[in-house]
Symmetry: none
Subunit: 161 residues, 2 copies
Amino acid sequence: MNVNSLTKVIGDYIVTLFDDSEGSEVVLSRKDLARKFGCVPSQINYVLRSRFSPEQGFLIQSQRGGHGFIRIMQLRFADCDEYAEHLEDLVGNVISEQDARKLLARLQERETITPRERLIAEVALRNQDENGRTLFDLPPYKRDTMRAELLKKILVSLAMF
Amino acid sequence: MNVNSLTKVIGDYIVTLFDDSEGSEVVLSRKDLARKFGCVPSQINYVLRSRFSPEQGFLIQSQRGGHGFIRIMQLRFADCDEYAEHLEDLVGNVISEQDARKLLARLQERETITPRERLIAEVALRNQDENGRTLFDLPPYKRDTMRAELLKKILVSLAMF
DNA sequence: AATTCTATTGACTTATTTTGACCTTGCCTT
DNA sequence: AAGGCAAGGTCAAAATAAGTCAATAGAATT
């Protein structure tokens, strides 16, 4: 009983391609990849959509027809200001509890933040949320904007470090 | 159900999983766990909410759908309750901005927390303070108690040495 | 005895992965 | 230039699994 979904396996494989190639881009063939993992080609699109989106720091370029290909490029940032800006875009003006947690998890997985840093952030966010709910009786939308504010402050402060 | 509520049994079981596993994380399936203990799946959520919260030093990451899972990470040593109590005393029910900052600085100097961790804590505290002042127009005393609460939650969640 | 906190349950909701049928694009051959 | 073939793209349904919420039940506290 395999605990990993095919999507994860393929996603991990693509990440190893990045490691091996040491460049910031990887080119692959949808058909071949699908055959390699014994799945339907559209599964590859799903992997790309769910694991290599611009949100997650990747850009994808592809070509159909005879000599089709899929190119995945990893975004890089010139300086910490640019990175901070990217983070602010990522969070936006409003963010749900779930999305905030997912973002923190992703950052931790990528070793942008440590588990302890993530823990502090989560505790701070939860605390604010709880106060908003119980003390000030704030509507969900207000809490979502306040969550975004706090999360941005935290992440941007770390980006500068 | 004094000593052996199902919740306690399941919580203890999860703790044994931590002992058995080498690392500081455990991955489980809500459905299987529920079946193992003959309860409804949502009971597992209750166990997690009540025993494995970030405030208690755990982080939870989960995924729905096919190959769904629940991953619990333990970020502090289980037996620091004593020290945690000490921290609660240290912070007290009320703490000024200056004292909070001094405490964080001291902890950082002692290398109990890293500079980045201190930064997150300060950002969170300042953010809460500012909201309290500008958004809710809270009196200083209230802000001092809320500051103490947040600081304690953060420090206790790390429960460090 | 009343209240309040903690636990249990289940109906309903949301999210993720997998699969396949059908669509679009573009090189290449005729 | 037309048509064929070889990519890749889209979309939606099915399968699977977790989350939420509120009603209830049970324990503990006052």
